[in-house]
Symmetry: C2
Subunit: 320 residues, 2 copies
């Protein structure tokens, strides 16, 4: 008999195929386990697969009396109440770095598309306005990337990959993170405010947590300046979204590139109405190769757990 | 009295300001000089500023009996009949490398946006389809950049800057150009066909000329394969545009990013209807810093010419 694994969050079916080949899957698909399944079905479930960003507190854990492991599909685990898990002796694992290249790629894609106004440009061609030589104030030359100071907030695996990519665009790279890394060739700034003063493009790559909710607020955005851009591929919680809308609307900053939002899958109408933002539906890690890598981590975690070993990729103390 | 300079092509007014501070400008704005001005006004004009991509043959040169220099605003000079200019003793100058960083940035922007389907993603969020959890087949995970083989066609200044940027995305870089450069850390392929066989993303960075009209044709596109992308920031003439439309429509390749077209400012309806292409209105070099750099080159060329010296940036024999 294969071990039983509960899938807590809603995932596209194709992403669960490999788990189903190995385990008996009970797919709650975003419902509470005790609403999706009878208590008898849940009694012998010892492991659960979850998306790390969705809230998962003690009351959900308690629907599975024998739960021993929560395995996050992806690098994030900010939705998991780690204290509640620890109290119950539940190990929490994730997929560190598995999607870092794909997420860093989207960060740079959003940065370039925002700075060079790609969606506006694409629409200018598609609409026939270019062919009609219709003037477009949005298409006037703007400052590009060369010589820009780009600030990376958070220097974990994704932050490092963002920095390595952006440096190739003839920019200067600075960063702020909890830890200063002497092995990195980038300029260290001692606070987020100092980073925002220094740079004109702020790339948010910090691991989201209770201590950085709304960390990028009206003050930080003002420090970026009217030629400033903010790019967020971390979590919507790190930006004060109403402050961002206000800063974009009144020209406090020049633009933004956003893969994440406060209340996904909803992006505020005030954002979707703005041509100076570039939007993506949280697809940072959403490539074939990163899904395979994330699934590898999930399977390695489950295999270790059911073999009685420590998780292969436990969530670690924060360092970025 | 300031020297008189004729502006042949149509440029936004803001791009001519610095020239007007130094010279007396006669702006033909895209008309034939002898249609825009009386013959008497043209008799003492010795220098002309032109966009390098627009046709400029001997019959136009002959409207200015004392023309001694054609100075191209930008790196390209493919529209200039160099033989006709040489016959008439007219020097031709351009702005080499001035916009290379900006153009390379757009090449990478288009590459990333095409591979990660950014316009589709942006529209998926903006339209409310994401919020409505409306399934989108276009948003299924695709192969990303990591591990891809990216081929650069043309290894001049722009090609080198493209290669340096794309290498930071954990890709392999190959190139084909007339010259093999032993100082470059990239894989050399002996022909465009061999390059297309080897890579899945083809970046066109070759200087356009009579010898590469329609060089990227149905055969080359077929070699890229169904996961293949083509990005063109050079000139529309280098791609067989109907073959590209066909290859995109029938799935021979996966997508394209285009900043240039055969008949600008017109992009074929068959292209603008396709969501798998990303389009831009020839804005590669269109940043504030690259306009300043291009204007610097134009002014340096004019100053040298009027001082009786050789042009500061004459068009050179092709090497890429």
């Amino acid at each position: 008999m294969p071990d039983k694994v509960l899938v807590y969050s809603r995932f596209p079916k194709a992403q669960l195929t490999r788990f189903g080949e190995r385990y008996e899957i009970l797919n709650a698909a975003g419902q509470r386990p005790d609403e999706a399944f009878a208590a008898g079905d849940l009694a012998d479930i010892r492991a659960m697969i979850a998306a790390g960003g969705a809230p998962l507190g003690g009351e959900v854990m308690d629907t599975l009396p024998n739960l021993g492991a929560i395995v996050c599909y992806g690098t994030g685990y900010d939705g998991i109440d780690l204290a509640a898990a620890a109290q119950r002796g539940i190990a929490v694992g994730h997929s560190p770095g598995a999607n870092a290249a794909s997420v860093a790629d989207i960060a740079v894609t959003l940065m370039l598309a925002a700075v060079r106004r790609l969606p506006v440009a694409d629409n200018y061609v598609r609409s026939g306005d270019w062919a009609g030589r219709k003037p477009s104030p949005m298409m006037r030359p703007q400052a590009g990337m060369r010589g820009r100071k780009v600030g990376v907030y958070g220097m974990g695996e994704i932050g490092r990959k963002i920095a390595a990519r952006v440096a190739a665009f003839e920019t200067e790279i600075g960063y702020f993170s909890r830890t200063r890394y002497d092995d990195l060739p980038y300029h260290y700034l001692p606070s987020l405010a100092a980073l925002a003063d220094w740079c004109s493009v702020l790339m948010i790559a910090v691991r989201a947590g209770a201590d950085n909710v709304n960390a990028v607020d009206a003050d930080i955005l003002r420090r970026l300046g009217s030629d400033g851009f903010v790019v967020n591929i971390a979590r919507g919680s790190v930006i004060d979204e109403p402050a961002l809308v206000a800063a974009l609307t009144d020209g406090t900053i020049a633009g933004a590139g956003l893969d994440v939002f406060t209340k996904e899958p909803h992006a505020p109408d005030a954002l979707t109405a703005l041509p100076k933002v570039v939007l993506a539906p949280h697809l940072g890690g959403h490539t074939l190769e990163s899904h395979v890598a994330m699934q590898d981590c999930v399977l390695a975690n489950l295999e270790a757990f059911f073999a009685g070993r420590p998780l292969a990729y436990p969530v670690a103390a924060r360092s970025n």
